[in-house]
């Protein structure tokens, strides 16, 4: 079992259990919008510098340094610039942005105003997945409240800074969580990712410089401004600051959103924060960062849950969606379920992804049905590895994570399902 959980102040979840935490009044009671006032005393470039020094890294999946991303907006550009919030939460195993939208929407709005000023943007879009009806209603209500209080619109709080927020609803497509797919969708098109470069910071939404950030990433910004970059950096590791939200699901006693420093170990998350494995069962495997993250076996959980810690362990933090499996789970069946997802969600633009995701699903399905061919496992591994890195976006690489790791780490289980005479 893991050691005692390090007691750390809650940042993202501090308001989650308070009644009416989605309202402006309650948000203000806990210091809401004081960071905004402070940020208006700072030069925009100083805000970006502060975020750089905090070691805040993108909390949607790619873990890219946030301040550095902001600094890619071309200097002196007179084009309109956009701040786009990726609230198209969709990575299997992830649900933390839903909590933020419903329970602390003003943290996102305050962070957006500060971030928009840093990148000289006067229009923010919040792209919320279409299935999130309740989060959309709550967040839209918070935006209305912010307008009425003079926190959005023209001359915010007498600062001379203007920002409008447009709340945009998606229509059901995992690929729109990929930032350029999201931008295509925001432009009223099917959500096909775009070739980079040009990166969105140079040519993004509607052809203009655009920063796309995850909900949680931007919700961290007011805290960094209020408490300082050093404080935030100190909460984490040398290369990543802060605490973050882990979405933990599967066979744990207490599934849910857990806030912990990024240096928390996977073992501690499972056993200290989530009550361990359900009674009478034992851990078999864990997916540490959403379905696209390579799987870890029960004896690989002494890793820290920061981006670089998991990279060193051969997997990734992704969206920090932790899916815990006990010994009752059939890994070949789990792979089939995951392969079905990638086959369904491939946008169809790049041949390796479009074709491989479909064929690999079919092969994983026939293996589970007891109709696998003895060459199927090597065919899947070969097809998966050849296609990795050949496509426009990271979707297919995300599918390759589970294809390869499930088979390589649990090969015997797959082989046992394949008839000997196949």
């Amino acid at each position: 079992m893991g050691g005692p959980a390090r007691i750390v102040e809650k940042i993202f979840t501090r308001n989650f259990e308070r009644a009416n935490s989605h309202t402006l009044a309650v948000y203000r009671e806990t210091g809401g919008y004081t960071a905004l006032a402070k940020s208006f005393q700072m030069e925009p470039a100083a805000i970006t510098e502060e975020v750089k020094k905090s070691n805040l890294r993108g909390l949607g999946g790619a873990a890219f340094p946030t301040g550095m991303k902001w600094s890619f907006i071309p200097k002196g550009s007179t084009a309109p610039k956009y701040l786009v919030i990726n609230a198209d939460e969709g990575e299997p195993g992830t649900f933390k942005d839903r909590y933020l939208l419903e329970r602390d929407p003003h943290a996102l709005i305050e962070g957006m105003i500060i971030a928009a000023r840093a990148i000289d943007s006067h229009t923010g879009f919040v792209y919320i997945r279409g299935e999130y009806v309740q989060p959309w209603r709550v967040f839209s209500g918070a935006v209305r409240e912010a307008y009425e209080a003079g926190l959005l619109g023209k001359n915010i709080q007498g600062s001379g800074f203007d920002l409008d927020i447009v709340v945009h609803r998606g229509a059901g497509a995992y690929i729109c969580g990929e930032e350029t797919g999201l931008l295509s969708s925001l432009e009223g098109k099917k959500g096909w990712p775009k070739i980079k470069p040009p990166f969105p910071a140079v040519k993004g939404a509607f052809g203009n410089p655009t920063i796309v950030n995850n909900v949680e990433t931007i919700a961290a910004v007011p805290h960094i401004i209020n408490r300082g970059a050093a404080w935030f950096a100190e909460l984490g590791t040398k290369t990543q600051g802060g605490t973050r939200l882990y979405s933990v699901s599967g066979h744990v006693v207490k599934p849910g959103v857990v806030e912990a420093p990024v240096s928390v170990t996977l073992r501690s998350l499972i056993y200290d924060h989530c009550g361990g494995i359900r009674a009478g069962h034992r851990l078999k495997a864990v997916v540490p960062g959403g379905s696209s993250a390579p799987i870890l076996t029960a004896d690989e959980i002494d890793v820290t849950m920061d981006a670089d810690g998991l990279k060193a362990a051969g997997t990734m933090i992704g969206s920090a969606g932790v899916i815990v499996m006990d010994e009752t789970v059939s890994i070949p069946e789990a792979l089939m379920v995951v392969a079905r997802f990638y086959a369904h969600e491939s946008c169809g633009q790049c041949t390796p992804c479009r074709e491989s995701t479909g064929w690999i699903y079919k092969m994983s399905h026939r293996i589970v049905e007891g109709k696998g061919h003895k060459e199927d496992l090597d065919t899947i591994l070969d097809v998966a590895k050849r296609g990795a890195g050949t496509t426009i976006c990271a979707f297919y690489d995300g599918a390759v994570g589970p294809y390869v790791s499930y088979i390589e780490k649990f090969r015997g289980e797959f082989e046992a399902l394949i008839p000997r005479d196949a």
Binding site: E131, Q134, Y174, K189, S249, G256, V287, I323, A334, F341
Partner: protein, 161 residues
Amino acid sequence: MPDAKRPEFTPEQISEVHRLQGLYPDKQGALLPVLTMAQEAFGYVSLEVEEYVAGLFGMSPAHVHEVVTFYTLYFQQPKGRHVVSVCHNLSCHLLGAKSIVEHLTRRLGVEVGETTTDGRVTLLTVECLCACEQAPMMQVDDRYEGQLTPEKVDRILEGLR
């Protein structure tokens, strides 16, 4: 009566279309929200609805068709009065999504993808709805229902008229 075969927005809905179009640097940005509106108004997105919406944007019906067929939340055929979408992705799979789907097909007398003959419920399976802490879960129209058991599913179905 709103009719997906002869779609026409009311003057109030047309003003809403114009408001939405004005929110984006290019009015095309409002295409998804307007299609959502059209589906709510006309029941589903027929080819006639696609053509009508294309006219509101001055774009080709082919572009609208490409968009409609890309996303899962647009229905191209009439749907039931209620839509029940069961998540069958990994976390829900681990906690018994398959038995929930089987229970629903038996109770409703339909296969996944079908609508009950009385037009009451359309049953779907969907990919991750991102409420894995409540697994197994499903979406019933606008709301999420989690920690499903056959008994809980029965109670939910009773509430759908």
